[in-house]
Amino acid sequence: MNDLIIRNITQRKFRTGLTVFGIALGIFAVMVMGGMSEYFNRHSENTLNLVDKIQVVPETGYLGGSIDESTVRKVNRVPGVSDAYGLLWMPYDVEGIGLIGDYVVGIPIDKQETTLKDTKLKSGRLLLPSDTYRAVLGSNVEREFKIKVGDELTIKSKRFRGTSSITHERNFTVVGILEYTSSDYDNVIAIPLETAQKFYELENTVSYIWVVPEPSADGEDLAKRIELSVEKITALSPQKLREQVEKTLVIINLITLSSAILAAIIGGLSVMNTMLMSVSERTKDFGLMKAMGAEIWDILYLTMGESALMGVLGGIFGIIGGGIFIYYMNEYLSSMGMVLFAITPRLIIISLLFATLLGTLSGSIPAYRAMKMNPMEAMKYG
């Protein structure tokens, strides 16, 4: 029977081509939107895995202000805290608000390994205590500026003088480049904390504090304890942070996936339309097959097999098309310092299953029609 299905599909090349193209477009959308969703999921997951410490931020929020360095000492004194250190965070693009793109982090030299956790160096070295205007870069920064160890990167800072501001810039020598992590770390420009404070004229100030709890301490309890012990700060445990990120992800996923599914359903309707046309064209053939003793399952297999095959073909083309688009889009975006899509085995499997299911389901109504056909009535069509 499979050869009959293939023959029927190949004999109506133009129509099959259009239908497969319709499905492929839908699956292309699933791949691209799903790829975006997968990227956000993976990126957030990787970032959360790396940022496994309690975050102490100004009570006004992440972007809302700064913390005096004396607060770091106060946090360090809270029972259950093994270590606490401040980091100074600044967007690389001084004109932007820093929600996306590269960012500069002033980091205490002796806390680099704790902060980077498992992230390895692709080339060069980490910052040394003697380093001042030196930087370690994330891999997206490297790709964006096509920079290597030994090259110089210009960093700007905006300094306010009364009501006006002047932009100051300074070259930093790249001493190390981090491997790709698919996390926020890919966009980091790490410089020594002291240098950062001087460069941005924010002496004795940090943006937030990272807290390493003692092994026996419960993150949630410790975060609460820090909030009670230290004023004007908010402490977020890794669990709390994860919850907040996941809430945001659900919304992103809903938006991306629902638009992708909508596109795919439109593709499915094109299969249904084609199959309805194909079945009504072959009304007489199906009637004849029934007169020859075809079981209803034979008819169902022939019709649904045909639509399922179109679904699979559309799925394969959609996945290939989506894959190529994502590859080039990521290449292009990475030259601007960001990546937006991720292709995962899960995404490919889901896309293919979805395409097959879509094809099969879209073929079910036409198949039901063919199956229910009265052979006598069907043959009168001729």
């Binding site: 029977m1 009959l4 023959r7 029927n8 004999q11 007489k284 053939d285 004849l288 097959m289 029934k290 007169a291 020859m292 003793g293 075809a294 079981e295 209803i296 034979d298 009265n374 052979p375 006598m376 043959m379 001729g382």
Partner: protein, 236 residues
């Protein structure tokens, strides 16, 4: 006398045309022996085609029974009907009704596919039947590349593919010229001589004149059932 291969008992079919009942068949009964070459004639609307579709399980009677090879096929459920159609009945239609996208060979082959005949046997049988029909060189041609006579011969080969108990032919010569008509009738008669039961529904008296038995229908009833002497002589 042997048990009849086809036995029709009190077969009736009433259609509703709006609110008016139309009696297409009324209380029809007769027997057909194995190897008989029989024609059913009558004017349009006499019930011949309705009768044929009842025997072929393409339609359900309002009343009465049809037995093929001792099996009461009118009792068959929807799920049993395909098996009976495959094993007991072969159809030949006026419009040939070949699947246009398949070759002559594949049109014969497909009938055996539904009967789950293994591929090698199907190939052998389809080639053998088409050769018997004189279509050995036309096997790979599509219906559109075959003449009316050739198409009808493919349809006969297809009807015979699963060795059915009866071949039901509905106006098999309705769409062909007189020369082809004669050839088709001769072919069917030849098959009946080899033991194949053949039942033809026809308008054409020159076709029925060459069958051994003629059932004449009028207004859904059998008007006459006669042994055709000419048919006898010709056959002899």
């Amino acid at each position: 006398m042997d048990e009849p291969i086809l036995s029709v008992r009190n077969l009736s079919k009433t259609y509703m045309q709006g609110k008016i009942p139309v009696h297409a068949l009324s209380d029809v009964s007769f027997d057909v022996q194995k190897g008989e070459f029989l024609s059913i004639i009558g004017p349009s609307g006499s019930g011949k085609s309705t009768f044929l579709s009842m025997i072929g399980l393409l339609d359900r009677p309002t009343k009465g029974s049809v037995f093929i090879d001792g099996v009461e096929v009118t009792k068959a459920t929807d799920s049993e009907a395909p098996k009976i159609r495959r094993e007991k009945i072969g159809f030949v239609f006026q419009h040939f009704n070949l699947i246009p996208t398949l070759s002559a060979f594949e049109n014969v082959d497909i009938a055996m596919r539904f009967a789950r005949v293994p591929k090698s046997k199907r190939k052998e049988r389809a080639a053998e039947l088409l050769t018997r029909m004189g279509l050995r060189d036309r096997m790979n041609h599509k219906p559109s590349e075959l003449s009316g006579g050739e198409q009808q011969r493919v349809a006969i080969a297809r009807a015979m593919a699963n060795n059915p108990a009866i071949i039901l032919a509905d106006e098999p010569t309705g769409e062909v010229d007189t020369k082809t008509r004669d050839m088709i009738v001769e072919l069917l008669r030849g098959l009946s001589e080899k033991g194949q039961t053949i039942l033809i529904v026809t308008h054409d008296t020159s076709v029925s004149a060459r069958t051994r038995r003629i059932i004449k229908m009028l207004d859904g009833k059998i008007e006459s059932d006669t042994i055709n002497a000419v048919g006898e002589i010709k056959t002899a």
